[in-house]
Amino acid sequence: MAAASLPASSPAPVRAIRAFLSRFGLIIVLVAMPAVFAVSDLVNEGNLSRLGENLIDGLSNGSIWALVAIGYTLVYGIIELINFAHGEVFMIGSFVAVSLFGTFGLTAATGVPGLILGLLLSLVISMIACGTLNTMIEKVGYRPLRSSPRLAPLITAVGFSFILQNVGLLWRGGSPQSITDLINSQHTLVTILGVPITNGDLLAVCVTFPLVFLMTTFIARSRLGKAMRATAQDPDAARLMGISVDTTISLTFLIGGMLAGAAGLIYALFQTTIWYFQGFTAGLIAFTAAVMGGIGNIRGAVLGGLIIGFIQQISDNRIGTEWTPAIVFAYLVLIMVFRPSGLLGEETREAG
């Protein structure tokens, strides 16, 4: 397809520039913004501690995006569908988690053992809830449409995204709600090289990385993971080999939903504000992350999530929160222009 749209014979220098851009364009674009701010920091303040702060906050933000992005990437890898409703599943995860905090009576005054137990329970329950929700969406909305044109499930996905947004709207009203800061997330634990590391950062990293590790091990080692990879490569052949494709696809949605649920809980604890619209922006940011890493590629999704988190933090901190979505989307467009296959390469059927 790409070859067809390009003129067949272009002069050598143009080809050289094109090759250079498709190879390093994305990396240049990614490095440009931090580099500019690093230089300006060095000139104005003489050290890089502000950029370091951005980096740390970005990493903890980014680990949330990474969890959501894995859901996108898994689903795209297996049925080549952008699951638009995924961001909303993440939002529902936040809402479930916050309701559970209320049910378990967790407050800022709860002791450490009680708090950890309560949070773990909430984490498990919201993961199960979101996993189930995601599987149900797949059963109702996507499965009947597997043999229809590509547009059809994409449109039901958008439809589900709106429905879930309205569920959120009815559940907790139309304005952002702030919740109790259970983990005292802005409290500084240690300061390394002038960069403070807070409770929130620790929580985000402590939940995300074990989960990602579990995930990748599951997909790499277990029988079901093998079935998932087989289905992603070639559903017909997988079915001939005795793999139940339907179950495998459901399982993929379950895993994606569970990770989104975990991300929802961390988001609620970390940002201490939730509202029904958080899923839309989060979904797009996470999708950008998935594309940046190379869609279908789990390690890529994690890498993309962390990078996007960093970019977002820089933009929040220095350009203004209200411009952040525009900047993230501009990055999305740039990725599409320079390297649609992402940093680590796609792992889909079409990419072959």
């Binding site: 397809m1 790409a2 067809a4 749209s5 080549e80 569908l81 952008i82 109702v140 909305g141 499965r143 009947p144 449409l145 597997r146 043999s147 229809s148 044109p149 590509r150 547009l151 059809a152 499930p153 994409l154 449109i155 039901t156 958008v158 439809g159 589900f160 995204s161 709106f162 429905i163 947004q165 309205n166 569920v167 709207l169 009815l170 139309g174 559903p235 017909d236 079915r239 005795g242 139940s244 494709v245 339907d246 696809i249 839309f280 797009l284 999708f287 594309v291 203004g320 209200e322 411009w323 979505p325 525009a326 989307f329 501009a330 999305l332 467009v333 599409m336 222009v337 649609p340 079409e350």
Partner: protein, 395 residues
């Protein structure tokens, strides 16, 4: 595929008409046009019904524009609101007192009359603004189309969505940015008032008498319908449909991909801009809150409800959704939750209802209310769908 084309040729009916003979088709078209022309005479000229008719007509123009991009060329555009925004801001820039110090504080006036002549700001005649909006959105459409040329289906959706969001963000935050001595936009406050339409030989329109507004909107609908029909049956239209069906095959048959795709974006965008300029003048405001993602979906839902690629279907879909959104939800069913003992406002849920409609429509009748002939054959008889076909039956 080839059988479908051959058959539609031999019956001498264009795709999308349900196979009616030619005279019946022309008769039906004329009857529909005549009905639309006499319709406003039955309603109070300043009333709610007229308001809904005007809005419905404006939405039909937009839906037909999106139908070119999504229905004909098969490029899923989730950021159509961008063109609405650009059209509306063209009207806001060149038909209001927004640029207060333009022309040395006295304003710039071209072909306008009446009280507007003494206002500061830039005031162009509505027709002139329409031409400018069409040019601006065509260019914008092509620019947005450029990065998507190499991409496959779902990525196009995401890139267009991203563009729509970027434009929306610029509209919201534009009041912080100054260029040439004025703010870029007026953010959430909106540019208001906007000049009413002022056509040569007619009095300036007012917000009390809505009939003239409706006839202008209807004229736009007729123009857009005509262009749609002519384009669909033209060489370009066939190229779009070929692209939609199979990109690789179309390219190897010698269809210039870049040109064809960009023309689809440009034409579709132009109609969005036209309708946007009209709506800005009609609603009397250019407000950043109008330009949200949900609006893109609103228009897309019209196209899908009616039937992708089917011109009459899209017209019907636009009218149905416009009536649901502007009449049924706020006026008829709004007391329903309260009657059932529930405590919420149904208007809050309108997009949830659209989402529900989209899902139901795709599952029950994916070809839409009045399906395009070729697409219906594909969906029902599964002719020519070689993509994503893997039935999954349990062993």
């Amino acid at each position: 595929m080839s059988t479908a084309v051959a058959e539609s040729r031999s019956n001498e009916t264009a795709p999308g008409t349900g196979g009616m003979p030619r005279p019946a088709r022309i008769g039906l078209t004329l009857a529909a046009c005549a009905f639309a022309i006499v319709l406003p005479l039955f309603f109070d000229s300043g009333g709610n019904v007229m308001n809904n008719l005007v809005l419905a007509a404006a939405y039909v123009v937009m839906a037909l524009g999106l139908n070119i991009i999504v229905g004909f060329a098969g490029l899923l555009d989730l950021g159509y609101v961008a063109f609405f925004a650009i059209g509306a801001y063209t009207m806001g820039y060149f038909g209001s007192s927004f640029h207060a110090n333009a022309g040395g504080g006295e304003g710039i006036h071209i072909l306008v009359s009446g009280p507007v002549e003494n206002l500061p700001g830039i005031h162009f005649n509505f027709l002139l603004v329409c031409v400018m909006a069409v040019i601006a959105t065509t260019i914008a459409g092509m620019l947005i189309g450029l990065p998507t040329l190499r991409l496959r289906g779902d990525y196009i959706a995401i890139v267009t969505l991203a563009f729509g969001e970027i434009i929306g963000r610029i509209a919201i935050n534009g009041d912080e940015v100054t260029a040439f001595g004025t703010k870029l936009t007026n953010g959430r406050q909106g540019i208001t008032p906007v000049d009413k339409i002022d056509l040569p030989g007619l009095e300036r329109f007012t917000s009390l008498d809505l009939r003239p507004w409706f006839y202008v909107a209807l004229a736009l609908v007729f123009i857009v319908l005509f262009v749609n029909f002519r384009l669909r049956d033209s060489r370009l239209g066939r190229a779009w449909i070929a692209l939609r069906e199979d990109e690789v095959a179309a390219a190897s048959m010698g269809i210039p991909m870049v040109k064809t795709k960009l023309l689809a974006y440009g034409t579709g965008a132009a109609f969005g801009g036209l309708s946007g300029a009209f709506l800005a003048s009609y609603l009397n405001t250019v407000n950043a809150d109008q330009f949200q993602f949900s609006f893109s979906i609103f228009i897309l839902a019209m196209v899908i409800l009616g039937g992708l690629g089917s011109i009459w279907g899209v017209v019907l879909g636009a009218i149905v959704l416009s009536v649901i959104n502007n009449y049924l939800i706020p006026d008829v069913f709004n007391s329903l939750p309260a009657d059932l003992g529930l405590d919420f406002d149904l208007t809050e849920l309108s997009f949830g209802i659209f989402g529900f409609l989209l899902v139901i429509m795709m599952i029950i009748r994916p070809e839409g209310l009045i399906p395009e002939r070729r697409r219906r054959m594909e969906l029902v008889e599964e002719v020519g769908t070689d993509e994503a076909v893997f039935e999954t039956r349990m062993p």
